[in-house]
């Protein structure tokens, strides 16, 4: 059992090692042409050359920055709308059909039209990302705020709290865990939306680099960029988890108790 415990403790590393080993194995067996499925050292070399030329950092800082700005903006707007809907029920019922109509629109479909109106700059990304990522924090927030029980609210009333105090000191804390689940999902979508928008806008960022390298058949560099994309997700998740732990640490410890 000692081995099992050891494996579990370092499971992230074991997992990564497993992926790399399988990858290297497939590449070395040449089940697929080496040109299309390069071994790990080739990918690392591609990564290294992009890092040295500075293009990787320049591209990724744009992509990650856009995703981050988008996710912060859409979280704030989404939570704000959810709070507004909780205060003014007429707004919530009026906003529901809009959410239902706009939510299924893929970011890709918005990009060509948005380029016309907003150009290729920052405004384009802000618009596209916020329009597609606002829904998870909004919908989760609205549902969780509305689901706060009668007993909690009555407890607040008996303690002499105003409606506003009840909203911010009872309903919002109770809703944070759900809201964070929404933000985490929104972060995933925002990375998708940024890369898609960069691919279609065709000027800069990781998405643009991916397309350009693919057309130039610099395959190891394409794979390296793919890994960087996944790494961006890890970074964004870690940032959100940091905040989540600060705000809803109680909930994470509570749910840990009953796995």
């Amino acid at each position: 059992m000692a081995l099992e415990r050891w494996i579990l403790r370092f499971r992230s590393l074991v997992s990564l090692a497993l992926i790399l080993a399988v990858w290297q194995g497939v590449a070395m067996l040449e089940l697929v042409p080496r040109k299309y499925f390069p071994p790990i050292p080739d990918i690392a070399a591609g990564f290294w050359s992009m890092l040295l030329s500075g293009e990787l950092l320049a591209g990724d800082s744009l992509t990650l920055g856009r995703a981050l700005v988008g996710i912060v903006g859409s979280s704030l707007i989404g939570i704000g709308l959810a709070l507004l809907g909780e205060m003014v029920p007429a707004f919530r019922s009026a906003f529901r059909p809009i959410a239902a109509i706009v939510q299924p629109i893929p970011p890709a479909a918005l990009v060509p039209m948005a380029i016309f109106m907003l150009g290729l700059g920052f405004k384009l990304y802000a618009f596209v990302i916020i329009l597609v990522t606002i829904w998870p924090p909004y919908l989760n927030g609205a549902a969780a705020l509305a689901a706060v029980g009668d007993v909690e609210v009555k407890t607040g009333r008996m303690l002499g709290l105003s409606e506003r105090d009840i909203l911010f000191r009872i309903k919002l804390p109770a809703a944070w865990p759900e809201i964070f689940a929404g933000i985490r999902y929104a972060a995933t979508i925002s990375l998708i939306a940024v890369v898609v928008a960069e691919m279609l806008a065709g000027r800069d960022g990781l998405g643009f680099m991916l397309i350009r390298k693919a057309f130039a058949t610099r395959i190891p560099e394409v794979y390296a960029l793919m890994f960087v994309c996944a790494f961006n997700g890890v970074v964004l998740n870690a940032l959100i988890n940091l905040l989540r732990w600060r705000i809803t640490g109680w909930h994470m410890r509570m749910t840990e108790r009953t796995p």
Binding site: G149, V151, R157, M158, L159, I170, R257
Partner: protein, 266 residues
């Protein structure tokens, strides 16, 4: 003794027209300062509705609740409620101490440090010293309800409404908690109204028992429990007078049970 709370001809219906359900139908009784009054009634009578009206959380259709001579129009600073569902009325994101301190949120005379000190005292009073920095969900049900009681006392309300506070804890804990509540009520000179469906508990705890009829609910009996101030789980419960009162209350409630058509019992 001065009257703390008075209910006059309280009436409440849900729905309108032919489908209207009349819950309360002219309920009147009063509670004096320092009294411990139990309210019991057959299942499905409007006990919880009545309690919500007494707390000012529900506006009656007719009649009024007056608290210290003034008609209630909403929740009052002088009234605190301990709810049955402690897992919801305690805030999971606050530690036990923070939950108790939250009960003093409208208290402007104490400093933050003083509130925390008082919170610790109250937690000790309900037997939870050493659990101040735990969270409610780390405690058993009975312990959580103790935290809720401590918070109820923290607001220094003159009237404590107890909404079946012990219905969800196990029998052994229940007896201990009954004695704890009695001890606290005496120590803090607390006026209490206990709503319960347990006849034994109602009689054991109270100076007076208000027995309700089934829906539409009125006051059926108002019985003085002349068992003295000292209650004991063994001797009080064997006291012939206790058994007599218990018999009267039980008989009154069972009478309604027999009248209730089977279909309505579900």
């Amino acid at each position: 003794m001065e009257t703390m709370l008075e209910a006059r001809e309280l009436a409440k219906s849900y729905g309108t027209g032919a489908g209207a359900l009349k819950i309360l139908d002219g309920i009147s009784f009063s509670v004096k300062k320092g009294e411990f009054v139990s309210i019991v009634g057959p299942s499905g009578c409007g006990k919880t509705t009545l309690l919500m009206a007494l707390a000012g959380l529900l506006k009656p259709d007719a009649g009024a609740v007056s608290f210290k001579g003034k008609v209630l129009t909403g929740p009052s600073a002088g009234i605190a409620v301990v709810f049955q569902d402690y897992s919801r009325s305690l805030f999971a994101w606050k530690s036990n101490l923070e939950n108790v301190v939250f009960g003093m949120i409208r208290n402007t005379t104490l400093s933050k440090a003083e509130k925390r000190a008082k919170g610790r005292e109250l937690l000790a009073a309900v037997g939870l010293d050493g659990f101040a920095d735990h969270y409610p969900w780390q405690l058993s049900g009975g312990m959580q309800q103790r935290v809720a009681i401590a918070r109820g006392l923290a607001s220094e309300s003159e009237l404590l409404l107890l909404d079946e506070p012990l219905a969800a804890v196990d029998a052994q804990t229940r007896a201990d908690m009954q004695d704890l509540l009695l001890e606290l009520a005496e120590r803090f000179q607390q006026t209490c109204i206990l709503v319960t469906h347990d006849v034994d508990e109602a009689v054991y705890m109270a100076d007076r028992v208000v027995v309700l009829t089934r829906r539409p609910t009125r006051v059926d009996h108002d019985i003085v429990v002349d068992l003295g101030d000292r209650r004991d789980q063994i001797t009080t419960r064997e006291d012939p007078r206790f058994l007599e009162i218990r018999h009267d209350v039980m008989a009154a409630i069972r009478r309604f049970r027999a009248e209730t058509p089977l279909a309505e019992k579900a």
